[in-house]
């Protein structure tokens, strides 16, 4: 097992390099660079940058050098822990991204737990009592959940929370805690603010997971081993939880691997609407302004977290299902 984990980590290194190169090239693929978008921004406020000024800026940022040199410069920095400098924010990438990654992780994990807590009982109920009224209701609500864009749901929930409960729901912190140092009160504040984003982000993936669990469980419910267990005299509830549900659980564990990237890339709009200080909106903004080092770093970190998430879910799968062997 340890040997396997070590090997997986090792094989992640060349993979990460390939990802970093691809990411770097893709970010620069659209025409223009940061200086162009900066010039456009300045122009919109009525000033202009002369070509000399722009060349001067490019030289300062190193954007006049060939792409491969820029990449090499960035990646050698990354290896030593220096993720470069954000042109737009005028500050080191590391400082910008650090806390946001942490908050994103917290939000992801709580959304995942919410997803599980919601979809496990509903999925089991829907499979066992399929074609019952309850199943149809959950199916209907689930499809609505899948079909309605998250940001719309976010707007609706914000409206309701503000109007009827007078809650301040945007952002992850109340204004007094925004830049305060970590304390118990700040954690409690974060907890309060997490609820709505957690529900919104969890709901859509819960709808998907319920469908997967329902389909998987229906397949398992009439497997011969279930009949065997019933012929032993087990009660239906015990039987259900011990055999078919255990086996249908695999997709839950697999979801650990993909929930993180989907939360970063898929929930950007929701995060913007809710004004969450996660990496999603920052990634979006940095891509718009071609802030290459910032966007590159975010994508690289997300990729690394995905690799780790997949590894964790693979390890859990092995523990959960003895049929799966790590190496074959």
């Amino acid at each position: 097992m340890l040997n396997y984990i070590f090997k997986r980590m090792l094989s992640a290194i060349p993979f990460m390099f390939m990802v970093s190169l691809t990411v770097f090239l893709l970010i620069q693929a659209p025409p223009g660079d940061f200086v162009d978008s900066y010039a456009a921004m300045v122009a919109s406020s009525g000033e202009t940058l002369s070509p000399d000024q722009m060349a001067e800026l490019r030289h300062r940022f190193g954007l006049d050098q060939p792409m491969i040199v820029q990449y090499f410069h960035w990646i050698t920095g990354v290896v030593t822990g220096d993720f470069g400098y954000s042109f737009e924010w005028q500050s080191p990438v590391k400082d910008l991204v650090g806390e946001r990654i942490g908050l994103t992780l917290i939000l992801s994990l709580s959304a995942m737990l919410f997803t599980w807590a919601l979809s496990l009982p509903i999925g089991i109920y829907s499979a066992v009592k399929r074609y019952s009224i309850g199943d149809y209701v959950f199916t209907f609500v689930g499809f609505i959940g899948l079909a309605v864009p998250n940001f719309l749901l976010a707007l609706v929930m914000m409206f309701i929370a503000q109007k009827y409960y007078g809650m301040d729901v945007t952002g992850l912190f109340s204004s007094e805690f925004q830049n305060a140092p970590w304390s118990l009160a700040r954690v409690a504040d974060l907890g309060k603010h997490l609820i709505i984003p957690m529900i919104i982000m969890g709901a859509a993936s819960a709808a998907g997971l319920i469908r997967i669990l329902r389909a998987n469980l229906i397949d398992q419910l009439y497997m011969p081993y279930v009949v065997t267990a019933r012929s032993k005299g087990l009660s239906e509830t015990k039987l259900l939880l011990k055999y078919p549900v255990r086996i249908a659980l695999n997709p839950f564990v697999s979801s650990i691997g993909w929930i993180l990237p989907s939360l970063v890339s898929g929930a950007v709009i929701t995060s913007i609407v809710l004004n969450l200080q996660t990496v999603g909106p920052m990634l979006f903004q940095s891509l718009m302004s071609q802030d290459i080092y910032l966007s590159g770093t975010i994508l690289l970190v997300v990729c690394a977290l995905t690799v780790v998430g997949t590894l964790i879910s693979d390890i859990l799968l092995v523990i959960l299902d003895p049929r799966i062997r790590l190496e074959q």
């Binding site: 011969p224 081993y225 009949v227 005299g233 003895p322 190496e327």
Partner: protein, 579 residues
């Protein structure tokens, strides 16, 4: 014997049992008003083909019929602890009463031990579960008992085996574990639903002998569900014959086998006895002395792989230096148990799998000799027009989204020999050859039964007028009465179309009926080959002897399996290659 005594001998009295799937007009009457009695310590066999309702009968007793199946009427008096009896049909299917009988007083074993045991719990966990459920013991005691049970069903090294998973057991071991599980609480009745159908003949013989032996020592009544009259002849005290949900005939083994009245029972017995003769001898075979195919020193080796502990497994020799000839007009049988390499050989011969070594020389229609082991793409394509395959599973081997016409015509279309009207004509002709109506062309496979589908598969194989057909277990998935029909069809076609066959099968009866010559495979090697008559009645090699003697007979009076010859490879000093 007085009446009172007779009643106390009865353990289960089923009267007018009706189990339907669905309700109203459209209800499928899976079990339609059947009655039978089971005696203490005796074996009752219920025999019938697929869809006869025999499994549903067995499951009705424990009330574990899958929905929408439901017991609609009748009574099932069980005389266990309560001498007045309990009517199992009246108990609630989820209630405490029936659950305390399931696995405790009446237990059940199933057909497919791989899927009938949980894949993710250890064998020990599953056996202990039954013990803990019905008996007031702690975990340690349950474990001790489970180990003892595993020892009882002859599982080697039970202390270690108890912590293994299902997939770490072989097929026979799994069924033994299943039996151990069902015996956990000393049941009064053991229901066995086709427990040996998925097993090799020698393993089947072992399991049958084991059940018989345990029955005597535990004094259980056994309800044995099977489609195999041979197995019935070996073990039954009483026999019930079922068809379409009805019990056609019920009587002692002697009565059924020697004085059967119902034509269906006679047909069942006949279809098994028929396979004890050779159709080739009766028809007069037309084997020529022209070699059609020469298999020379063919090997198939799967290279060494390291397992998850990092220990390398040795390379696996699926085929070890196999040499065989096929003559024109001849039917060569390849017989062996699962894992013997017989299917691998069939696949290597037609180059579905590539050989690791050796030659497969095929004499083409134009006289050229092609070596299939080395042939290039172009040559292979030509050879594949002359060698075709018929597959085992008539359900999985036909594309459900294609019409029968498209399925049968596809090889012609691919080969580019027929198009348009000519293609349609040829397809009709092919379907007529296998006895299918021309109207079948527009329909989809799901509209046809297993036997008809296998005919369609045969028509597809015939499309390009091949000279050699490889039939891999082509009749294994069919009911016994269909089995000889399909074999007869193949033999008729052989007479008119000048075909040769390589028939791969685990079924000695099929081989004896169909083949001129037989090669017996064991662990990748041909241990014996010769004329079918000789191999099937008087073999030389001890393995073949064991194999033949494990085949159930068709006469209840000579219990062959009890007196079977057992083969121990290690004791026989055979050097085995691979593992």
């Amino acid at each position: 014997m007085n009446t009172a005594n007779q009643t106390s001998d009865i353990i289960l009295d089923v009267r007018n049992l009706r189990t339907y799937f669905g309700t109203g007009e459209k209800a499928v009457k899976a079990v339609d008003d059947i009655s039978f009695k089971m005696m203490r310590g005796k074996t009752l066999c219920i025999v019938g083909e697929s869809g006869s309702g025999k499994s549903v009968t067995a499951r009705s007793i424990l009330q574990i019929v899958d929905p929408p199946g439901k017991i609609q009427g009748g009574s099932m008096m069980y005389y266990g602890k309560d001498p007045k009896g309990v009517d199992l049909a009246q108990l609630h299917e989820r209630g405490k009463e029936i659950r305390s009988i399931r696995g405790h007083e009446i237990s059940m074993i199933f057909q497919e031990p791989m899927t009938s045991l949980s894949p993710i719990h250890t064998i020990g966990n599953q056996i202990c579960e039954t013990i803990l459920l019905h008996q007031n013991v702690d975990m340690a005691e349950a474990r001790t008992r489970a180990i003892e049970l595993l020892r009882r069903v002859e599982i080697p090294n039970p202390q270690v085996a108890i912590d293994k998973y299902t997939f770490e057991y072989s097929g026979g071991m799994r069924q033994r574990a299943m039996i151990a599980m069902s015996l956990a609480c000393n049941p009064k009745i053991l229901i066995a639903d086709e427990p040996t159908t998925a097993l090799d003949v020698t393993t089947q013989a072992e399991i049958l002998a084991l059940i018989k032996e345990l029955q005597t020592s535990y004094g259980m009544a056994v309800l044995f569900i099977t489609h195999d009259m041979g197995v019935v002849a070996e073990i039954a005290d009483e026999i019930g014959v079922m068809q379409n949900g009805k019990m056609l005939e019920f009587g002692s083994a002697e009565e059924i086998f020697y004085e059967a009245k119902h034509p269906y029972t006679l047909a069942l017995i006949d279809s098994v006895r028929k396979l004890e003769t050779s159709a080739r001898a009766a028809r007069g075979s037309r084997v020529t002395d022209k070699k059609l195919m020469e298999i020379r020193n063919v090997s198939k080796i799967y290279p060494a792989r390291s397992n998850f502990m990092g220990k390398p497994n040795p390379p696996f020799k699926a085929l070890d230096n196999v040499s065989l000839d096929v003559f024109e007009g001849e039917n060569l049988g390849i017989v062996g148990e699962s894992g013997s390499g017989k299917t691998t050989l069939g696949n290597c011969v037609i180059r579905v799998l590539s050989c690791s070594g050796g030659e497969v020389l095929f004499r083409m229609a134009d006289g050229r000799i092609a070596d299939l082991a080395k042939a290039g793409t172009h040559e292979l394509r030509q050879v594949h027009r002359e060698i075709r395959m018929v597959f085992q599973d008539p359900f999985a081997s036909l594309n459900p989204r294609m019409t029968i016409g498209q399925i049968v015509g596809e090889p012609l279309l691919v080969a580019g020999t027929h198009t348009g009207e000519a293609l349609r004509k040829r397809t009709e002709e092919l379907l007529a050859m296998v006895g299918m109506p021309a109207g079948a062309m527009e329909r989809y496979p799901h509209a046809f039964s297993g036997g008809q589908r296998q005919r369609i598969g045969i028509a597809r194989a015939l499309a390009l007028s091949p000279r050699l057909i490889i039939a891999d277990e082509a009749t294994s998935a069919l009911d016994v009465t269909l089995r000889s029909q399909v074999l007869d069809l193949l033999l008729d076609l052989q007479d008119t179309l000048n075909l040769s066959f390589i028939l791969v099968s685990h079924d000695i009866g099929v081989i004896r009926y169909f083949c001129d010559r037989v090669a017996v495979m064991y662990k990748g090697q041909v241990v014996e080959h010769g004329p079918a008559e000789k191999i099937c009645s008087n073999p030389d090699h001890p393995y073949t002897k064991a194999l033949i003697s494990a085949v159930p007979g068709t006469h209840p009076r000579d219990k062959r399996i009890v007196n079977r010859h057992r083969y121990d490879a290690a004791a026989a000093g055979i050097q085995l290659s691979g593992s």
